[in-house]
């Protein structure tokens, strides 16, 4: 066993950390969140230059990483900076699906993603699907050489800014069958695509997308018709690994801000950190975060194992991230008192992101149920 990162990965982690600490401010982030784009195009370009996007792709796809631990180190730093540039939507989800399934010509777009010049989104979730990843009612009907897509997609991350959408649609089967799902590369402004973009409560952007008789060619099909499930499941697992890592970075910042506050805020003539009622709860926060970190290490370490092994470890990590993220968010606010309730003070923004991570790709209850089901498969 070895719990240290390779030197190269450590250097990468340090350079991202330094870039964020030196140049990335919460204020600018929140201002960017209010623009139509939803993030800073300038920062995205700088991240690309730093190699942060490329770190999420394998060398054979033109990147210089792509391993599970590359995902965890990067997203932990992104969480620390509360970064709202679309790493998840563009690189992990959209880029990840193209990397998994794309034909050589289709993979050309990955180069543009890595360079920071192409935005992607995974148009997958639907108004009635909640967290159920195989629940897709959008249809893909064969027509001539291509397909016609019809349906509605919900809370599509980065859906408004995306140049290219990876759209999931059903070629066959019932609403939540795993079999029969296909993926298509659809231009964001293709005829028949309408997008309603909005900000999320934690400072990201998402969109409701309607597909009305969107006609696409056969060359837009990603992988084999009706056989996209395996890749979808795996890419969502990577997204959850990324989110659980992001949560750790955000939790540690919230923790450190709170510890610092306990050491400086005085009431009753002493710093409030002297009150044991707070000390013990802070100790709980600290040790729970270590648990979350270990579960992420488990998930990254088992990611390339069997499907069941991977999915169980990922569900465990996402469950702990959801549960502990909420604990940290709520305790950080409570132990700060009124100041944490304000927009001006940073900790509330970390708290909002932490709680919303539980609403992406499966909350605690979803992943516990999934873990139970997977355990039965494993037995």
């Amino acid at each position: 066993m070895d719990f240290t990162h390779t030197e190269e990965r450590q250097l990468f982690k340090d350079s991202v950390a330094r870039f964020i600490a030196d140049t990335y401010t919460l204020d600018a982030r929140n201002r960017a969140a209010e623009t139509d784009l939803g993030f800073s195009a300038e920062k995205w370009a700088q991240f690309a230059e730093l190699g942060a996007i490329g770190a999420l792709f394998s060398e054979e796809d033109g990147g210089f990483g792509g391993a599970p631990f590359d995902v965890t180190v990067l997203f932990e730093e992104l969480g620390r900076g509360l970064v709202n540039e679309p790493f998840l939507a563009t690189a992990i989800l959209g880029g990840g699906l193209i990397a998994e399934l794309g034909a050589a010509e289709q993979k050309a777009v990955i180069e543009e993603v890595i360079a920071g010049s192409k935005q992607l989104a995974f148009a997958h979730g639907e108004p009635k699907s909640r967290y159920d990843a195989s629940h897709v009612e959008t249809t893909a009907k064969k027509s001539g050489d291509g397909y016609v897509l019809n349906g509605a997609k919900a809370v599509v991350l980065n859906g408004g800014a995306a140049d290219l959408l990876v759209v999931s649609a059903r070629s066959s089967g019932a609403a939540w069958d795993e079999d029969g799902l296909s993926l298509f590369l659809v231009s964001g402004d293709a005829p028949g695509v309408s997008r309603l973009s909005y900000s999320s409560i934690d400072g990201l952007h998402a969109a409701e997308i309607r597909l009305e008789n969107v006609t696409v060619g056969a060359d837009t099909l990603l992988g084999a018709e009706g056989k996209a499930w395996t890749a979808i499941e795996k890419v969502i697992a990577r997204a959850n690994l990324a989110l659980a890592s992001e949560a750790i970075g955000a939790m540690e910042v919230a923790r450190d801000m709170t510890i610092e506050y306990l050491k400086t805020r005085k009431q009753f003539g002493v710093v409030i950190g002297k009150f044991q009622a707070l000390q013990h709860r802070m100790a709980t926060v600290l040790l729970e975060i270590e648990q979350a970190r270990s579960s992420v290490i488990n998930a990254a370490g088992r990611f390339d194992g069997s499907r069941v092994e991977r999915e169980m470890a990922v569900s465990a990590a996402k469950t702990l991230a959801g549960k502990i993220g909420r604990l940290v968010a709520e305790e950080a606010i409570q132990m700060h008192g009124g100041i944490a309730m304000t927009w001006e003070y940073a900790v509330g923004h970390f708290a909002k992101r932490l709680v919303m991570i539980d609403h992406m790709f499966g909350d605690v209850d979803y992943h516990v149920a999934r873990y139970v089901a997977l355990s039965k498969e494993a037995a």
């Binding site: 979730g125 809370v155 409560i201 409570q334 309730m341 304000t342 001006e344 708290a351 609403h359």
Partner: protein, 398 residues
């Protein structure tokens, strides 16, 4: 023991229902149910509607124009009004200041201020907290110095809820520096239009303007605005706080919020099955419901107790702790219930007259903002840590 309502209570319940049906507009109820933004007119208007019926000051004695309801009647109204989607009663004048005026105010003060609270002439806000004086309220520094017929006030209050609408603020100010900090505090009423007052908004983490900072720069206040005696304000302040805390229990509002969670859980489906039938989710809801049902009875037990001392101090701490923690767990259920639609934040859609394209189901719009906003309830009115400290000291002698 008998848990059933008397025939009189049942008749009262019917009367309340009929009143709500006739007087509460569906538009207003919809705003409340979906946590949309209430305008000042909404709040003032609802007070006026209640006042017309004589039901605004529910626990005031008749002599001051109150309804003088029994605790059971109050809870019946609270349950029914919350279930129907009525706005909450703004507590600062009615439930906080008024009891202090009645107990410690002069005849002239009572005659002047109580009717104005009822008819809405004065919107009151609470000027207790300061940047340096939160939990340790007695360390407050805002100074009031006597100058002839006036006090001259300098300093700052903060977290002043809905102060942007207020005509008047009741303040704790320092008038003495001798002895214990508690011994130099006075309770005074200040006109918000006085020269020297500036008010600045504080935006909360979910983007709303609900609280304010209030600055006092040589504000001259007539000495007749002092409540009771100089330097005795701490006694009055604590008396007020026990009322603030029981009010915070919010049993009716929690029942309505839990009912809304159940409505959402019926509408949300997982593979065609209502979320309400999901065993994980159903178990979460059931546990909160059990607690809330118990709290409802705790509340009545306390309020009905013939021993007045029971309803003060440590018992109000208990209602505050349980009431707020249950309410937060309902907020947590609601956010879980709406799934991915917790994320969209279309704040304009929470404002009156919005007719843009909807994002997600209407019931989801205000859920996450309310979850975050309600983190405040375990902090204000004396934090829950402070309440547990009070119970430790007062009840257990630790």
């Amino acid at each position: 023991m008998d848990l059933s309502f008397s025939p009189q209570d049942l008749a009262f319940q019917a009367e309340v229902r009929a009143f709500l049906k006739a007087e509460l507009s569906p538009q207003l109820a919809d705003k409340v149910r979906h946590n949309k933004t209430l305008t000042k007119e909404d709040m003032v208007g609802w007070h006026a509607t209640l006042n017309k019926r004589g039901w605004l000051a529910q626990d005031w004695p008749k002599q001051y124009g109150g309804a003088d309801w029994t605790p059971v009647q109050q809870q019946i109204f609270d349950d029914e009004a919350s279930a129907a989607g009525a706005p909450r009663i703004i507590p600062f004048g009615l439930k906080m200041l008024a009891p202090v005026l009645m107990k410690f105010g002069s005849e002239a003060q009572k005659a002047h201020y109580l009717p104005r609270i009822l008819d809405g002439t004065d919107w009151w806000c609470q000027g207790y907290s300061e940047p340096g004086a939160g939990s340790d309220l007695a360390s407050l520094k805002t100074r009031a110095v006597r100058d002839g017929d006036h006090y001259v006030i300098n300093g700052q209050k903060t977290w002043t809820t809905l102060g942007q609408y207020a005509d008047m603020i009741f303040c704790l100010v320092r008038t003495g520096t001798e002895g214990k900090p508690q011994e130099g505090i006075s309770f005074i009423l200040v006109d918000m239009k006085s020269p020297g007052i500036t008010i600045r908004p504080i935006i909360l983490l979910e983007g709303t303007h609900e609280v304010n900072e209030v600055f006092f720069d040589n504000v001259r206040v007539p000495a007749e605005n002092l409540i009771g005696e100089e330097n005795k304000g701490w006694t009055y302040a604590k008396y007020l706080l026990t009322h603030e805390r029981t009010n915070i229990a919010g049993v009716g509002a929690s029942k309505a919020a839990l009912a809304e969670v159940k409505r959402i859980a019926k509408a949300e489906t997982v593979r065609g099955v209502p979320l309400a039938d999901d065993p994980y989710f159903a178990a979460r809801v059931a546990q909160v419901e059990m607690e809330l049902d118990a709290l409802s009875t705790t509340n009545l037990r306390v309020l009905s107790s013939p021993d007045a001392a029971v309803s003060a101090g440590s018992i109000s701490s208990m209602l505050k702790i349980k009431g707020t923690e249950i309410r937060q767990s309902i907020n947590d259920l609601a956010r879980r219930a709406i799934g991915p639609y917790a994320m969209p934040f279309v704040s304009e859609a929470l404002e009156e007259g919005y007719n843009g394209e909807p994002v997600g189901p209407e019931y989801a719009l205000g859920v996450a903002p309310d979850y975050f906003n309600n983190r405040k309830i375990t902090i204000f009115g004396g934090s829950n840590e402070i309440q547990r400290g009070i119970i430790s000291k007062m009840v257990m002698g630790l």
